[in-house]
């Protein structure tokens, strides 16, 4: 089990990092030939940073569009964020101050994550319009996240695993040193699902996380009359005249 997960984690981390880097590079490389911010839009780069910050941290547009969905999504993402920060303790020799800060929130955050996901899944069946646009991959993605959350919560609250050994495994792995992982089926399942999530991330709708920052309707300044915006391929058309 130890060797299997050592290999699997290395591979899935590689796929995750390389895949994400390739997608981000693709977004960064593809030009935006026209100014298309959804107006009213900020006039300055600082204003754009604030707009993106509000979108990424508060889900501002979603709040305007659908309050209930906003609540479910916010509860899930907030829970996820806390849980992710807290998991840093398995990769750091000494837990940092942020990790220590969220430590007492681990259980409520895990619950929030699972509850948020359950509600998000339920609305895919309950609301007719959302059911119509839901495909198998949308259900599977929620199920995957839910399974990761539930196995994690079970280990945290019911069937404890030896987290000292888990930490030793991961800190060891980061130094290319093999240390044993507890032979615990629940932990195995949890880690397997996490690896699966990392592998599918760059090929799935989870790209919404980096993608938001490349969305031209949100990341452009509203100054087309003041500054001439010209993509390289469009500039070539200019030369042709």
């Amino acid at each position: 089990m130890t060797i299997f997960f050592a290999i699997l984690f290395s591979v899935s981390t590689l796929v995750f990092v390389a895949g994400l880097a390739m997608k981000i590079a693709q977004y960064a490389r593809t030009p935006a030939p026209l100014k298309i911010p959804t107006t009213p839009a900020p006039l300055t780069k600082g204003g754009v940073a604030l707009r993106l910050g509000r979108e990424a941290l508060l889900f501002e547009s979603l709040f305007r569009g659908d309050k209930l969905l906003w609540l479910f999504a916010f509860v899930f993402h907030l829970g996820l964020a806390v849980v992710l920060v807290r998991h840093a303790r398995y990769f750091q020799g000494e837990a940092g101050p942020l990790v220590a800060l969220v430590q007492p929130l681990a259980q409520p955050a895990g619950l929030a994550m699972v509850a948020g996901l359950t509600l998000l899944l339920a609305r895919r069946f309950v609301i007719e319009r959302v059911r119509y646009v839901t495909g198998p991959s949308d259900i599977l993605m929620l199920a995957l996240l839910l399974a990761i959350g539930v196995t994690g919560m079970l280990m945290k609250c019911v069937i404890h695993t030896d987290i000292v050994m888990v930490k030793a495994f991961f800190t060891g792995l980061m130094g290319f040193e093999l240390r044993p992982l507890p032979a615990d089926p629940l932990l195995g399942l949890h880690l397997l699902l996490v690896c699966l999530l990392m592998i599918v991330f760059p090929f799935s709708k989870l790209l919404h996380a980096p993608g938001l920052f490349f969305s031209p309707t949100r990341n452009q300044t509203d100054n087309p009359r003041e500054v001439r915006h010209l993509a390289p391929w469009a500039a070539k058309l200019d030369e042709g005249q």
Binding site: L34, G65, D66, E128, F214, D222
Partner: protein, 500 residues
């Protein structure tokens, strides 16, 4: 009026946000006429679908994905959350689920996934990936011509996914394989051949404007001019060609002329650039959009004007405000003290603020106004120096011209405004059912203020909105003359003769 061969949506209370139940396939048969070879070839598009079009469509899609970050990012990042599903006026009016923005985008995304993503290539069923087939193309043709590119969905999308970008790309792909839309492509042909969307040749234009000058003189006793091709004028006015003949558009044109007259600013129209609208955007074709824009640059150069001002037109203002500098700039040969281009409402509101013109509200006695924010002005452009000036400036001009102005329900105005139902290249008779049904959210909000606040008229600042409302208001038992140009109100209120 005669009974329509389709149901007119019932109007509810806009505060309750009525959302219809899904009616799958309700609008599957709605589609505009396909462009004939005669409409396609002047634009450089193939005359008809020919063997191997599927591959050419996919190749073209690949090209667009590498040229437009919007398209590439929007294809990848939708999570199908459904926040957009009750935001499109065409969905609200028809109940057809493929008019939900995410479902419309998925018509395109399903093909993208099949040919451009690993999962779509390996396991198409898992992510709803589809081959490019005749059935898919027919669906594209139908439903990408049920999007007016109004961008309302993009306001509420947590990632700003703009279905307008996707429908533009789909239309460009269809043009590139010979499945163009007659209405748009015929009109673009006229712009290139004659100078404007209506196909109004220069002598007819001169004749019309002379007639208007006489009308104004008869009515006011003041010799207000409508100059054309006057070299050395200060301002080049570029306005939608509907302003030259249709009502209420032409009453707005008279308003612009009176404002220029009262302000003592010399101006001219151009026979070469006798059209503000740029249908190149509707068909998502950068080259066409640029070619149409270059007419304005050439006209400004030839006439030696110092400023360019655009008349009331929604999509035209988006192209002008957001794209003109990109497409036809730089504008360093014009007077740098003024933005290029300016909107006529910026010009007029500035004059009102500086007391450069005088308005007498009694000219619009008995009218209670509301204002329809045109979608592409509201969400694709700006006026003035502050974000949201596109909302405050038209309201300031209307408020200065009329005794009373009230707003419609807050979820139907400003950046949440609904499209009139006829924008984005859909203002054609064969789409009348779509246009009537798509107008229902706006009609609902209008009826609300008519019933509760005694509104008598609705001001519009877009040629398409004006034409669309004039046509569809009677379907909802309103008077077609309820819709007025903003500058028609200015025209009724302006005090002429100060400068004489």
């Amino acid at each position: 009026m005669a009974a329509a061969p389709f149901d007119i949506p019932a109007l509810g209370d806009p505060a309750e946000h009525p959302v219809p139940a899904l009616k799958p396939g309700a609008m599957a048969a709605s589609k505009p006429y396909v462009a004939a070879e005669a409409h396609q070839q002047p634009l450089g598009f193939p005359g008809e679908l020919a063997e191997g079009w599927e591959k050419r469509a996919i190749d073209h899609m690949g090209g667009l994905l590498s040229k437009y970050r919007s398209l590439q990012v929007f294809m990848d990042i939708c999570v199908k959350c459904g926040a957009c599903t009750d935001k499109c006026h065409y969905f609200l009016g028809t109940g057809d689920p493929k008019n939900m923005p995410v479902a419309r985008a998925d018509l395109f995304r399903s093909v993208y996934r099949r040919y451009f993503t690993p999962v779509g290539k390996i396991a198409p069923g898992l992510v709803g990936a589809r081959d490019m087939t005749r059935e898919v193309l027919d669906e594209w043709y139908s439903y990408f011509h049920q999007c007016s590119q109004c961008r309302r969905c993009s306001v509420f999308c947590p990632y700003g996914i703009d279905t307008a970008e996707i429908s533009m790309a789909a239309r460009d792909i269809m043009d590139s394989i010979g499945q163009g839309q007659k209405y748009c492509n015929e009109i673009i042909g006229k712009v290139h051949r004659i100078g404007n969307n209506l196909g109004l040749p220069a002598p007819a234009l001169l004749d019309t404007l002379e007639g208007l000058e006489e009308d104004i003189l008869d009515e006011t006793g003041v010799p207000v001019k409508l100059p054309v091709d006057v070299a050395g004028a200060e301002v080049l006015l570029v306005t939608p060609s509907a302003d030259f003949f249709a009502e209420p558009h032409v009453l707005g044109l008279i308003g612009y002329a009176k404002v220029f007259h009262a302000a003592g600013v010399s101006w001219t129209l151009s026979t070469k650039a006798s059209e503000a609208g740029n249908f190149g955007m509707f068909i998502g074709n950068y080259e066409q959009m640029k070619k149409i824009s270059m007419r304005i640059r050439e006209a400004a150069r030839e006439l030696g004007v110092k400023r360019i001002i655009f008349g009331e037109c929604g999509h035209a203002w988006r192209v002008a405000y957001s794209f003109l500098n990109t497409l036809a700039g730089p504008w360093d040969f014009l007077d740098s003290r003024y933005p290029v281009p300016q909107h006529i409402l910026e010009f007029t509101s500035d004059l009102i603020r500086r007391k450069g013109i005088r308005l007498d509200k009694s000219g619009n006695d008995g009218m209670v106004l509301t204002v329809h924010d045109s979608c592409n002005v509201a969400r694709g452009a700006r006026m003035g120096t502050e974000p949201g000036g596109q909302f405050t400036i038209p309201r300031a001009v209307i408020a200065a011209s009329v005794p009373k102005l009230v707003d419609m329900h807050p979820d139907t105005i400003c950046d949440k405004t609904f499209c009139c139902g006829g924008g984005g290249g859909l203002l054609t008779d064969e789409l009348i059912e779509l246009r009537v049904k798509g107008a229902s959210p706006r009609m609902e909000a209008l009826k609300d203020v008519v019933d509760k606040q005694g509104v008598t008229h609705m001001a519009a600042m877009c040629a398409i909105c004006k034409a669309q409302f004039t046509k569809i208001l009677p379907y909802y038992d309103f008077d077609r003359e309820m819709v007025v140009s903003v500058h028609q109100l200015v025209s009724n209120a302006i005090v002429l003769g100060d400068n004489d």
